[in-house]
Assembly symmetry: D2
Homo-oligomer: 329 residues x 4
């Protein structure tokens, strides 16, 4: 559905570099969805690119960004943040989350140490929602972190690569407008929620850094044919498609949970579209013949944690296949 | 046509990060088209991104890249090359081209100056084909530049953002396999030759730098859903579509040239799909009501040079409109 | 004399990283000499280091610095400015100087071009005083450049590696307090004016960027035993030693000029301690047996321009040797 | 003594940028002391600068350096390593040391994870000798780490900011030639062992990276008047002054240990010139009136760990003062 719009628009001439009509319409719809009429919105291609560009743009050159040890920017971005000169300072991960009180305590100790000017100065906090481990922050968690950020003159950046799956989860106690009010910048992930590519970076209060467009270009992140992103986000933010897609994936994830629970197989508590299941190597081998999943973490000699991910594309046929496969274990 | 493949493949599950089947097929077809069975090929999203990634990967940190003053990397990439720490050292532009003898002379003087270790050391030459001004290098020009590169231990990188339009021009005296043999790395531009996005970086002799994949990721240039590029390049390199598209644009450009010449309007000699026309401000105003073009360079108080660009999408209807508009001047 | 202070202080314990008593005293004396009671002052070790640190600290990451083609940062710093991600955009050199009107015109054209956000945005102008060619700006030149900077929201940075020699020249029509009022930051060169090492970076109006100390550390530019610089600058700014040293070198340079002129040898008009003399290769060979100088630029097959530099250390004995050598030509 | 050489040489003319006679002599003496006749040796000004320059020069742009959590480059260099684009990947600290087996295990897991190309690739191991906590590696520890480095195609870099104090410790079971054979590059710290400034970077087997001089310049780390370092290192490596200075500090540290032990005050086991003492706040207040030391780490409400550092400058008078002060506790 998203793609059909791309084809339909292909023969039209259009402005480029983000000034096309579809991008402008998509921006308007996202502003409405966020209740942020003033928001500055930019469409980038991918998540690592969005992170590197936003962090570079918002930090002075000497500054560091604080993130959980498990954070995508710390583990799986090949040093893209350091590539623009910024240290990633890590905090303990609590199932993928950082804790506001620990953050506050860390900063108190940091500034109490008179050698702090010899250290990279933290000027941003980066969190992911949902986290890399499929967990969620509650509203009060984020509000508390945002308070600490303001106390220590830091910005709060929320990586929403899988934002839809977080907001659509029954365990989430806030919505997109609330999120937009409780951070300085976030991005709405398209790639992992039905788009071919594209992430919408939102500065909710017309607070994009000066010349952010130029920073985007400098990071090689400017799409010439920007309708590629614009058309997709326009579709995703029409009739709540974005949340419907996410909701579909969450529903399937909850069905999947139930299937494993009914079969007496241990599954971690997880409120989003990533589900982590404990399987023996024999169970793994049998299941692998029918469905796709990946090894997450070895547990014992014979058992390990495996990750099952549902998405907008997960169908009833997939679920039936899984049901049969589980029944044969 | 390219896009229809994207839609057709959308419901299939596919590997990501460049390992999908379409990308692999596209690579194989490009290897055939280049006569480079060993080539390492990577699909990136855009031109600035390709330039920044390739240059960063191939240069040691202290090294500079030599380019024409008019080079895209020097003028229109917002400092993306410097962003990864590399100086762009400029040579005079001869209608967009650098001259092999001037390059040789420059390097001779450079290394004769005993203070050269206090300067950024040139380790790469960057040229564009066609150039930013729509001009072409002849085979012997490139061969000579490549010789100078080998003499001074430098790599030669050819930016082919508009490569198709160069190869399809009647003024071009070589083909893609010849080009692949006369440089260390080049990219085949998709964005400007019919694709929604995508540039194919080719290391012709299995000479990609170590861990180039990681460098791509570090530059935020790795497409998660890599079939976006793979499907498009697969289509472009099936049945010579890439060159056919380019040939179409060149044919239209030559028609356009003739229209202006017949009308007695001055037009610069240009062998590719970019045509530069001298118009008075009155002529400009009249034409602008019917066709799109952009101001290139003021000439006198009343006249300026204007750029007309044809592409895969330029139709007979467009040409008819232009004909009528010119006749009314 | 400067060094004897270093030895005298060696057995004392002292605070480090710039907080030692000598550094504090030196800062106070420099504030007096500049009539800038509020100035922030930092001692760095060398010129390239000072340039890279100041430029990085004062520019946002996407921004460029404008400099003359002949500027030290463009030619002889091995890409140290680009190393922190900033493009050096060059303007024509007029004997080492940039011209305020050309600068204004350049910026007018820059911002008139609607593609400017695709370019590195100039946010600083860098000039050297004296220039790399030994020439000087007049007060109105600098005032005009400073006006253009304010018009286009740019900072003005003056590299004073040889500042003393400029201020001590009879051709200079301003003093250090005037200079401090007509730029945003400058440095007072110690290395080339009698110190073993050390450059004093001055932000005249308490306008050092936030956490500049941290940026200094991040550039590896923080001296642990900071009295090394403090003691030297303390001595240099006691009883006008800095200007006396410079005046001595200028006097010797003027004597040297006269010697060549009297001998009928062509010498470029130069108001500072760098003098450029036209010699035949035979003259060069004879002179080289007696005095040190370096080749600057070939002129014809047989003649070239040679640079003679006087300094605080140039003695009457040196001048006598030169006189004899010239008489033998 | 070191400084007197500086004064004595001040009126001589000398070559600069490392080519002066004193630097050349110092290099020759260091080669002898290391039994490395082929060593490439460069004198830099400070430790952070040496680390940033060496690591940048030896790593490809995409690569990371592995270090202990407590490593100076991770904690106290303001992000200088990240400033040139490199991630610091941390390993657990065992009293400041990393463990060869843990390192091996980490790398085994790293390369077993098929997503490793999405991570910064470790290409260097950085250790400090002595460590930041005053502890030492034994010969077999370093040999084992060096083996792991070769196994995984990484270089081993040893930061010897306090090298003398390590080699002079009775607990050290190797000497400088052994060290030079068991790493790829190390530096001999001058600043903390009697010099005003200066660190000698040693590539033991003529293995300096190409154009390392240019990298030094690019990092703002090139001393114009290089005899500043040359004269000092020449003195330090004449008649074993370097080790004598270090031995003196170690002797004083051992006396200091004994004083605290005799007074029944708890002191950590530490073999070098840094000694860590447990004091109550009352004890701290009394001692502070007589001697200088710094707070290291709070232990309980009333007690903390304090660091006492001896050096080449610690005199018998200092020790007498400390003895009296301790006796009054």
């Amino acid at each position: 559905m998203v793609l059909q719009h791309l084809v339909a628009t292909n023969t039209e001439q259009s402005a480029s570099y983000g000034f096309d009509t579809w991008s402008e319409q998509a921006r308007q719809k996202i502003r409405l969805a966020c209740h942020c009429p003033e928001a500055d919105i930019f469409f980038l291609v991918g998540g690592t690119q969005a992170n590197a560009t936003v962090i570079d743009a918002m930090l002075p050159s000497y500054a560091a960004v604080i993130a959980a040890e498990t954070a995508h920017i710390n583990v799986h971005e090949s040093g893209a943040i350091e590539a623009s000169g910024h240290k990633v300072v890590t905090m303990p991960s609590h199932d993928g989350r950082i804790d506001a009180r620990e953050l506050d305590a860390y900063l108190k100790v940091f500034y109490a140490d008179e050698t702090w000017p010899h250290m990279a100065v933290p000027k941003m906090v980066y969190i992911t929602f949902p986290t890399e481990l499929g967990t969620l922050y509650q509203a009060h968690d984020i509000a508390d972190i945002f308070d600490v950020c303001r106390k220590y003159d830091m910005t709060l950046y929320i990586d929403g690569a899988r934002l839809g799956y977080g907001l659509a989860s029954p365990a989430c106690d806030f919505d997109m407008p609330w999120l937009a009010r409780h951070c300085d910048v976030f991005y709405i992930g398209g790639t992992k929620v039905g788009a071919l590519c594209g992430e919408a970076v939102v500065f909710p209060r017309h607070n994009a850094p000066d010349n952010f467009f130029t920073t985007v270009k400098r990071h090689g992140a400017l799409l010439a044919k920007s309708r590629l992103a614009g058309v997709q986000f326009n579709a995703l933010f029409t009739d709540d498609l974005y949340l419907k897609i996410a909701k579909h994936a969450i529903d399937k994830a909850m069905q999947l949970r139930q299937l494993f629970i009914d079969a007496g197989i241990s599954i971690k508590d997880s409120p989003t579209n990533q589900q982590f299941v404990v399987l023996t190597s024999e169970q793994r081998q049998r299941l692998q013949q029918h469905v796709l999943f990946e090894t997450w973490q070895p547990l014992t000699d014979d058992t390990a944690l495996y990750r099952f991910v549902t998405s907008w594309a997960t169908s009833d046929i997939d679920m039936t296949a899984l049901t049969k496969a589980i029944n044969c274990l």
